[in-house]
């Protein structure tokens, strides 16, 4: 267990020191949220109505862009091979790396939501709902993303194919995340139903993600 704790600490330290993940992810999130009014017009009433959707899409894309740094650095300097060869279960190692990745790139996105919600004129209640659904949903995005990152690890310019692999898989999370956030604001559907399903999806991703990613790594690196 202490091996995994060490891996977690190492990954978090590296991510913080390199500094690329969190600030750039949040900056990208901000840019996406800014782009939408340029495309749609500054109608605050419209922005308020689609606000939760914009925030979810922005967070989804920002999560996606950060994914290629999950395995890439370790693959390049050989640490990934060491992890594969070690006695630690690869599935658990992948889950640990995914957790570190979420803490350093996914969680900051959630923290940025209140500020970005301000730009879209969301009510505090809606802002809270979006933040909560993203808090539950971004881990799912990360863990599902590890599958794509693992599949693409040996590819040099893996960026686009990573997106193509991961995005369809994230659709259920997006659907129920936005539904839950919206229902808290407008709510023909009560918040509880989609939110519970969102939680379920996240829990499933905790299992499927590491197993599939581990299998992908084994096949990709042998």
């Amino acid at each position: 267990m202490s091996g995994l704790a060490a891996l977690l600490e190492r990954d978090i330290r590296l991510a913080v020191r390199l500094g690329g993940g969190a600030p750039m992810g949040v900056l990208f999130f901000l840019i996406v949220v800014t782009l939408v009014p340029f495309a749609l017009g500054p109608d605050l009433a419209l922005l308020r109505r689609i606000g939760p959707a914009i925030l979810w899409l922005g967070a989804l894309l920002a999560s996606l862009l950060a994914l290629d740094r999950l395995f890439a650095a370790d693959h390049e300097d050989g640490s990934l091979d060491l992890i594969l060869m070690s006695s630690v279960s690869l599935e658990l190692a992948v889950a640990t790396k995914a957790l570190a990745h979420w803490i350093t790139t996914g969680l900051p996105l959630v923290i940025a939501v209140p500020v970005l919600a301000l730009f879209l004129g969301l009510e505090p209640w809606t802002m809270g709902a979006v933040a909560l659904t993203l808090l539950v949903g971004t881990p799912a995005l990360t863990f599902i993303g590890t599958v794509g990152a693992a599949l693409a690890v040996t590819l040099r310019r893996g960026g686009l194919i990573l997106a193509i692999l991961v995005l369809p898989l994230t659709i259920p999370v997006l659907i129920f995340g936005v539904a839950a956030a919206n229902s808290a604001a407008v709510g023909p559907v009560p918040f509880g139903a989609p939110f519970t399903i969102l939680c379920g999806l996240t829990l499933i991703s905790f299992v499927i993600g590491p197993f599939a990613a581990a299998a992908a790594l084994r096949h990709g690196l042998e």
């Binding site: 901000l30 840019i31 109608d43 004129g121």
Partner: protein
């Protein structure tokens, strides 16, 4: 030639050491006068009441936001065209300052907007342009952090800065056009308060105060950057000597 003299970092450092205390005194003095004028002397606007006092912070920061990019652009030319050694340092030191003043402009604008239009943020032409400027400052900062080698980072940042300098007027024009294209339900305008001398004078004094603040902070930050590069050089020497 004095500019070439300044090219020597050591001489620049001693110049900063001598000048900085005076700049600090001047900055504090002008701020004291400015704040007194802004808070106690300036009258309320007949439309906006006392909230016009926020303008004395908001507008000077808007000026600084644009001025810093100009400073960075001149430094960028220094880096790319003349290879002036202090140009890199000047550019790097100005970036976080510019970002901070732009941020302050946005924040005070938002606080001004809430009583004025009832919303903390509206997508009107001017505010939106400043938001884009803020994002571009963050982009330059990201570039400085991402490229490891200092001189390569300086050249990359210089190119981005100059491209930004050309683009910013274009962006401003486009955003203004976009803002007029979509007339919101209630016409929201950042109505310029009736500018007459009782409001203009405090504004200009505060403007001067902030400008002096920038000058002080910029020189101090440049000094830090020069010291930081010295540390880096020494560390590299240390590593090479196998110490």
């Amino acid at each position: 030639m004095p500019l070439l003299d300044l090219a020597n970092p050591s001489r620049f450092l001693s110049l900063v050491d001598r000048v900085l205390p005076w700049l600090v005194v001047a900055t504090v003095a002008v701020f004291a006068i400015g704040l007194y004028q802004a808070l106690l002397v300036a009258p309320d606007d007949y439309q906006q009441g006392a909230t016009v006092k926020i303008m004395f912070i908001h507008v000077p920061n808007a000026w600084l936001a644009m001025f810093c990019w100009v400073v960075m652009s001149i430094a960028a030319l220094g880096t790319l065209v003349w290879r002036h050694p202090l140009a890199d340092v000047a550019a790097k030191a100005a970036a976080p300052l510019g970002a901070a003043f732009t941020f302050l402009c946005l924040l005070t604008g938002s606080l001004w907007g809430r009583p004025m239009w009832g919303a903390y943020w509206v997508w009107d032409g001017r505010l939106t342009s400043v938001l884009v400027l803020f994002i571009m400052y963050l982009a330059v900062l990201a570039l400085w952090r991402t490229v490891e080698d200092p001189s390569r980072a300086a050249r990359a940042a210089a190119i981005l800065t100059l491209v930004g300098a050309i683009n910013l007027p274009i962006i401003k024009f486009s955003v203004d056009w976009w803002a007029t294209l979509h007339q919101p339900a209630s016409v929201m305008r950042l109505g310029a308060p009736t500018i007459h001398s009782s409001i203009l004078v405090p504004l200009l004094i505060m403007g001067l105060a902030f400008m002096l603040l920038f000058l002080t902070l910029h020189l101090a930050a440049m000094r830090n950057e020069i010291l930081r590069r010295r540390v880096r050089t020494l560390r590299l020497m240390q590593a090479q000597a196998g110490a």
